[in-house]
């Protein structure tokens, strides 16, 4: 067995998030591996449908929930289209966990602000649940989440669950034109909604993930709100193949995103060429 050979995983649940996005729950078939499997919030894996190939996604479930992992993806390419066709009881391939992680333990006692756009909520969701599963250890929790339209919001049931909690402040928004008649959330792009929400920056960290344009536009807003560059964390979603620091695909400047990342602070991001 070599480092590129995947483990087999059973699909135990499928959730259709939007017309083109779904979440799979996977359990490693090998019992010993399943019991020993551990990861940190922010790490990723290589998921495969045999015959279609491998694709890279973060692990979207939190490390505090054992025995399974979840991944969420939008069906846009060959592998994700094939993953869209799998059913409960099917077998897929998994390699991981790979990469670095969010230093959640270092955030004890701090406020945590989560900002996500579109499918970018998947890696952030892992950290949100990780923090909520250890709720007492952290200060205020704020979530700002936006999607193109109401139908494009992922994890709708969890958005409601978070909204119903008194220990979470959540603001959801959809792009102008994406609202429905009964939409109760904000209408506007994520960046101005973050600015209007104005989470306080003192003794706080921000976790930001979304399309490159959302990350690019939101970083200066967080700076204006007083967040230091080393208190802003993001996860880069560069195209990857091996996940092991060999195939060269995710290399930007001095870093291999799969090994040195995918989690970077805004301070680290500023040191990189803008090739992400």
């Amino acid at each position: 067995m070599n480092i590129y050979q995947p483990q087999l995983a059973l699909v135990t649940a499928v959730t259709e998030e939007t017309p083109d996005t779904r979440t799979l729950r996977l359990e490693l078939k090998d019992e010993a591996l399943r019991n020993a499997f551990a990861f940190h919030a922010g790490q990723f894996g290589e998921y495969s449908v045999f015959g279609a190939g491998e694709s890279t996604f973060c692990i979207a479930s939190p490390p505090t929930r054992k025995g399974f992992i979840e991944c969420s993806f939008k069906a846009v390419g060959k592998v994700t289209s094939a993953l869209r066709e799998v059913n409960v009881g099917d077998t897929v391939g998994f390699r991981g966990p790979y990469g670095n992680w969010f230093p959640v333990d270092d955030w004890k006692g701090k406020d945590v602000v989560f900002i996500a756009g579109g499918i970018g909520l998947a890696p952030v969701r892992c950290v949100i649940w990780n923090v909520l599963d250890r709720r007492d250890e952290f200060g205020d929790v704020t979530i700002v989440y936006g999607a193109r339209s109401v139908v494009d919001l992922v994890y709708k049931r969890e958005l409601q669950e978070w909204a119903s909690r008194s220990d979470v402040r959540i603001v959801t928004t959809v792009d102008p034109g994406g609202q429905t008649d009964d939409w109760k959330g904000e209408v506007g792009y994520v960046t101005p909604v973050v600015e209007a929400t104005a989470p306080q920056a003192q003794n706080a960290v921000a976790v930001l993930c979304g399309p490159p344009i959302v990350v690019k536009l939101t970083l200066p807003v967080l700076e204006r709100l007083g967040f230091a560059d080393d208190a802003i964390f993001t996860t880069l979603e560069n195209r990857m193949k091996c996940g092991l620091g060999k195939c060269g695909r995710c290399n930007i400047g001095p870093v291999y995103v799969c090994k040195d990342g995918p989690v970077f602070t805004a301070a680290q991001l500023k040191e990189l060429p803008a090739e992400y």
Partner: protein, 385 residues
């Protein structure tokens, strides 16, 4: 004459004995890879590269191939069309096979241990490239497929007289008489070759064929043949150095700190992204991973050579492409080879074989590019306090 004592370093072998040794290896069933006359029918991928595309470039007429007979062994001075890379990172390589039974999948592992084999008359730039790529293949996760082939292979270099004006090995930390990445070095001398075994595997090869070697008189190559070899080797080094001299450390630091410099940002203007440079490069190791179905419900997952010069290399599923034109893609090639890899792994990701320059039909010339960067780097040094 006495047979070789493998505990001593330098031996003499005649060409006849070298061919006889090759025959002994083949007779024992050992795979022997060596330069042979190019057979464009046998390796169609070599056709394009074998053409003499640029003035002053020698036509390429040899390639590395598994020998069928010792007579095929080509001990000339030319450069094989492709490097040794394909024998350690095959162009298409199985990573695992799968077989589907209903909803069940069975995975079959591929072997990571390989039969012993010998490479003869390797170009020093090609063996050095293997030692350079060893670093990325082992910096954390160990690539068992690469390592398995490396461990199974004994490499004997043949000192190179320097092929043509595109060669620049001495500018990037190796030399035409280097045994880096190899286990022994042959240097042509009057009547045959001096052979220096530099690793245990090299010494084992000498020991296994001790009757073919004679211990060279004069320790450390101090004999007449040793002096001749030293002269030839010094002359070859001088020829390589005449092609290109740069300060690799300054080049590295300059590239690292001048990402947006117009010189780096416009390098790809002539490049059309065909990726031939990556294919022929002994150090380019980037790969893709693809599934290939072989009938219904079974297939093989393979890795295959890829190139950072292709637009799809970094294309996100969303359509966003961080390197969306040829200029940033070519800059990545230069940056990765001469700054990123040296800073991360302490080695330049280039051994100066010059194949990329010779093969480029757009006229991208790495010697020219490195010269330009070196001049820029020195100018900065001249003005900095």
């Amino acid at each position: 004459m006495t047979s070789a004592d493998p505990t001593r370093g330098t031996y003499f072998i005649t060409e006849d004995d070298l061919r006889a040794l090759t025959g002994e290896l083949l007779g024992a069933g050992t795979e022997v890879i060596a330069p042979v006359a190019l057979d464009v029918c046998a390796s169609p991928s070599a056709i394009a590269s074998s053409a003499c595309l640029r003035p002053g470039v020698k036509p390429i007429d040899i390639e590395y191939r598994a020998l069928e007979s010792a007579a095929q062994l080509n001990l000339g001075s030319g450069l094989p069309v492709l490097s040794l890379k394909q024998y350690f990172l095959p162009e298409y390589e199985a990573l695992c096979c799968w077989r589907q039974h209903g909803t069940e999948i069975e995975i079959e592992a591929v072997p990571t241990e390989f039969a012993p084999r010998v490479v003869l008359a390797a170009k020093p730039c090609d063996s050095a490239a293997l030692a350079v790529v060893d670093k990325v293949m082992n910096w954390d996760y160990a690539d068992e497929l690469w390592n398995g082939r490396r461990e199974a292979t004994t490499i004997v270099n043949l000192a190179c007289p320097v092929v043509d004006e595109s060669c620049f090995c001495t500018a990037v930390g190796t030399a035409p008489d280097d045994a880096k990445g190899a286990d022994a070095l042959l240097t042509p001398v009057e009547g045959g070759f001096l052979m220096e075994a530099t690793t245990d595997k090299g010494r084992a090869l000498v020991e296994a064929h001790a009757a073919r070697f004679t211990a060279e008189e004069g320790a450390g190559g101090a004999g007449a043949r040793g002096r001749q070899a030293a002269e030839e080797r010094a002359a070859a080094r001088a020829r390589a150095a005449a092609n290109l001299e740069i300060d690799a450390a300054s080049v590295r630091d300059w590239i690292d700190t001048h990402f947006e410099d117009p010189l780096l940002a416009a390098l790809g203007v002539r490049c059309n992204g065909c990726g031939a440079c990556s294919s022929v490069c002994p150090t380019c190791h980037c790969f893709d991973i693809v599934d290939e179905e072989e009938g219904i419900g079974k297939g093989t997952r393979r890795r295959c050579w890829d190139t950072c010069q292709a637009p799809t290399f970094t294309l996100h599923a969303s359509g966003h492409n961080p390197r969306d034109s040829q200029n940033p893609r070519y800059r990545q090639r230069i940056n990765h080879k001469f700054a990123i890899y040296p800073l991360k792994f302490g080695e330049v990701l280039c051994t100066g074989c010059g194949r990329c320059t010779r093969v480029c039909h757009a006229g991208q010339d790495l010697v020219e590019i490195l010269q330009a960067i070196d001049i820029a780097a020195r100018r900065r040094e001249a003005v900095s306090p």
